[in-house]
Symmetry: D2
Subunit: 307 residues, 4 copies
């Protein structure tokens, strides 16, 4: 089912080259102020156009179709749609017979017996993450903490001042780059998360791996913790019951402990590269556009845990 | 809710020092041969007693309480319980006032207003993973592919012949070790996984992070892919539509592609260490007991996707 | 959550006087032929305009927003919207302070703290059932059996030839009428339904009571069976294992038995009546428009059970 | 899936002649006082032994297997089991080849390919409702209102003083009787229930039809409302916003309105009758044992809606 969440549920719909993409948000509290402008700042962060991102630029103007009345959420499902305008389906005419490596073209064809919409990846397109961004904006109102995601490294390089040259050179080679994004959520109260199956890490990882192109996630010390000793990794408690260090990344036993949630996400390099003769307009490093999506996913998960 | 899965649902119940721990398995196909001995090999792999593992040894004898008739599954819920016998609650008497670092003691106390069962971690104990192992045995019958998980490295050391000495030395220091486990599932057909939210990676990560002590998960090239170029990371298709390399780890667009699923899991070092004066009986490296649990989780996820 | 179904899920969205009402259908099999005209016959059966129904006539033109490509379902979520055109919100301006008896005006106000959209009942309006009709059309393709619902009686009168006069007289008195609808689904295979909680009757009743204005449901002999003896009510088996009579209404132990499903639904009289000074345009007997909705609900439930 | 509820979830397990039947209750608030004696009064109401009920009498002693610590709920899943003791499987030896009319024997055989446990109806037995009773006891603590269900009529007779003779005569004829049960829940606050699918009537009907042998349910005026005019059926509001009459049965638009919830349930006559040569020990009128089960279902539904 194309939805996520129990108390706050995000359903996603649409295809890259269909009439609309969008989301339905269920379980939104009534009475939250909400208008179209609220989405703009986060939508701008996701938009293409900067160096390293695709020249396919959409207006990304959200249409609120239901669930908002007189500038406030009503408690009924909120539906937000985005018209697809800048579609160039001819780029993809041959996709059905020539699936692109690293995309869902082939697996979707197998799964749906060839009936999936192949244009631009159809329902599997990164285009659908525009809906995640607006879902995240609403989620941040329901779980109103401080969300900060940023690129840690691109192509293994963690010196931001060198990224423009690296991107430009990679573009000129017809190649692409991966990246690591770190997300920190501060102000989260202790006690969120559920035992056994719905640990806060389980739910966050579930949502994060829904973002196309994710290859890994780690919390706190992450993979490095597998090389540490217990005496190095343990977080001692302060007098307020909150750990004074944060090797764990903000949760113990799957339940938030009052520390910031900290996790890192590995994004693969863009699959479609000119070098391999893949037609279409592509990002050199699509991960540049993902920090706001990572934040949105964190907010979606936390809003679902929050009462 | 303490359950996972849509078509094959695993519910978990019990506390470390209560009368029983166990699982309820719903959605099991009728007519599968199943008897108590089927569980033994996997239960043995999880059991304590080997160097580096806790001296708390339980009989781990599964009692099938429902859902099996004349040696076959009936289609009704299967309930399997394990009596807790080897409990030494006095070790934990002071836990309520002295929560252990790195455990759920403190977060559970906050979450449940102090009403949680604190003995041995209660419902948050690693003891509950015994139920996951038997759930995995049933799942492997429903998703009958080849599951192989093994320790890749302990404390950063990837030479197995050196592990016994490393463990012994760490034990003598009253300290503990983390580890990395790799899991490979071969024979999985193409087409498993769902767009958008229920990618095969999303569901696997969700289940894996339910195992106590997990700090990270990565698929295929994982975090290394963030440092690769598209031309290095992409998997070209063979004539059968299956990629000839497996940088992706077995899925494209969240849907299995016919290659083996390959992922690695980072386990933190055991939190309870003698060095810090934590009473009780502990594993130096609890991760030694986890490969069979990782396999079980993979099977649980795949059985839920399978028709 | 405004959705129903596990394998075939229908989500409903919109408000009576908002820009759109509609549905999202998830879990639809790929490859079903589907186009806008497929909906017309059932939409026409629900439309207003006949004697006894409201003069608010909407175009009811479905817009397929996602999930259909080249005339076939793709397997991705199908979104279908209906523009609200014929809205006269001024009729309802005073609703917030003067809740209508028999409507959700007051209960929604309490539930949502006054933030619900009150115009025309908002999200609680019978207008939303237009989405159920199109969901039913798709469901009938997935569970392709013979659905026949019809009015049994109006205002206690079971002689159809007398209904026009009864309706006209009631209208002239500014009053309204209830009705009983009977639904029969033939061709349903044995074996649908799940033990204990998800009996076929449980799911059908659940869906039917979602239709505004339903006061009761009964299967087979229904309430009359409470006055029968076992020797009168039992259905003996034929040689094919299917009962030769159908007192039960098509299911035993909550599982379909190969007989037609037969159930009756009691609809209350329209709540809004001119006699009581309720402004707006109303049906004398809204139940006249419900047989197609009852059929749709039956199909939605059966499509969700069907593999 | 053999479970019901979103925030308060009741899972049911076991077979009539297996080792145990029972329930797992998830989502129970921590800190509720709970001990074995709390269940006794309601279990006694369900027990057999009175005139008109089966001579199969079980001890019905609940074993609390998890989720309770020092006399209070912990917030972890509560598991309660009942040992099956008084089983006489030889009565049922021939069931597999001779399915009983009016039971699930035949439909379960079709559904599960003959692998279902046929003894005493297996997982479809009324025996499983013992778990519903204890679930109801916990639910009543979470939704602490006044639940009163009683028999309205037996075999169409609504004069209680005549029931013993009616039952005795029917028993002597080897036949059985149906009944109508009415349930009233007082003190329920306004605002429970969800649009569109999860109206309070939808959820109650869903749960009630899970009780074996139910043929119909109606709320407030029920089927009679289909014969009333709007001017007769409408409930005018009092000054406090609560309707002064209760034709609706306690809800408007699917949301509780502050009035008592009132509904009636039709039970069929016991299917197994001596007259037809069905072996085993049976109730003349099993509905005599159902009022406490109906109350339990009402409480289970309301606890799931309650925050």
């Amino acid at each position: 089912m194309n939805s996520f969440g129990n108390k706050f549920r995000v359903s996603i719909l649409g295809e890259s080259h269909g009439p609309y993409v969008g989301v339905v948000l269920d379980g939104v509290k009534p009475g939250l102020p909400l208008c179209g402008e609220d989405f703009q700042a986060d939508l701008d962060r996701r938009r293409a156009g900067a160096p390293g991102t695709t020249p396919r630029v959409e207006a990304d103007k959200p249409e609120i179709v239901s669930g908002v009345f007189e500038g406030h959420t009503t408690g009924a499902p909120i539906t937000i749609l985005f018209k697809n305008e800048n579609t160039r389906s001819q780029d993809y005419a041959a996709l059905k017979d020539n699936p692109r490596p690293g995309h869902a073209d082939q697996t979707a064809k197998v799964k749906y017996g060839g009936f999936n919409d192949p244009r631009g990846g159809g329902h599997f397109s990164g285009r659908l993450t525009v809906g995640i961004v607006v879902a995240g904006v609403v989620a941040k109102k329901m779980a109103p903490w401080c969300y900060e995601a940023e690129i840690l490294e691109i192509g293994g390089n963690n010196r931001p001042e060198e990224w423009p040259a690296l991107i430009e050179q990679t573009r000129s080679e017809g190649d692409s780059l991966g990246a690591v994004v770190e997300c920190r959520v501060s102000g989260v109260p202790a006690g969120l998360g559920e035992p056994f199956w719905d640990s806060v890490e389980s739910r966050l990882a579930h949502a994060i791996f829904a973002i196309p192109g994710v290859r890994g996630i780690e919390f706190g010390d992450g993979f490095a913790s597998a090389r540490m000793k217990g005496s190095e990794h343990n977080d001692a408690f302060g007098e307020d019951g909150i750990p004074v260090t944060n090797h764990a990344g903000g949760a113990n036993g799957g339940i938030t402990n009052g520390n910031p949630l900290v996790f890192r996400v590995a994004f693969k390099p863009t699959a479609s590269i000119a070098k391999a003769g893949i037609p279409g307009r592509h990002d050199v490093c699509f991960a540049l556009r993902t920090p706001v999506i990572v934040e949105a996913m964190a907010a979606i998960v936390l809003a679902d845990f929050n009462d």
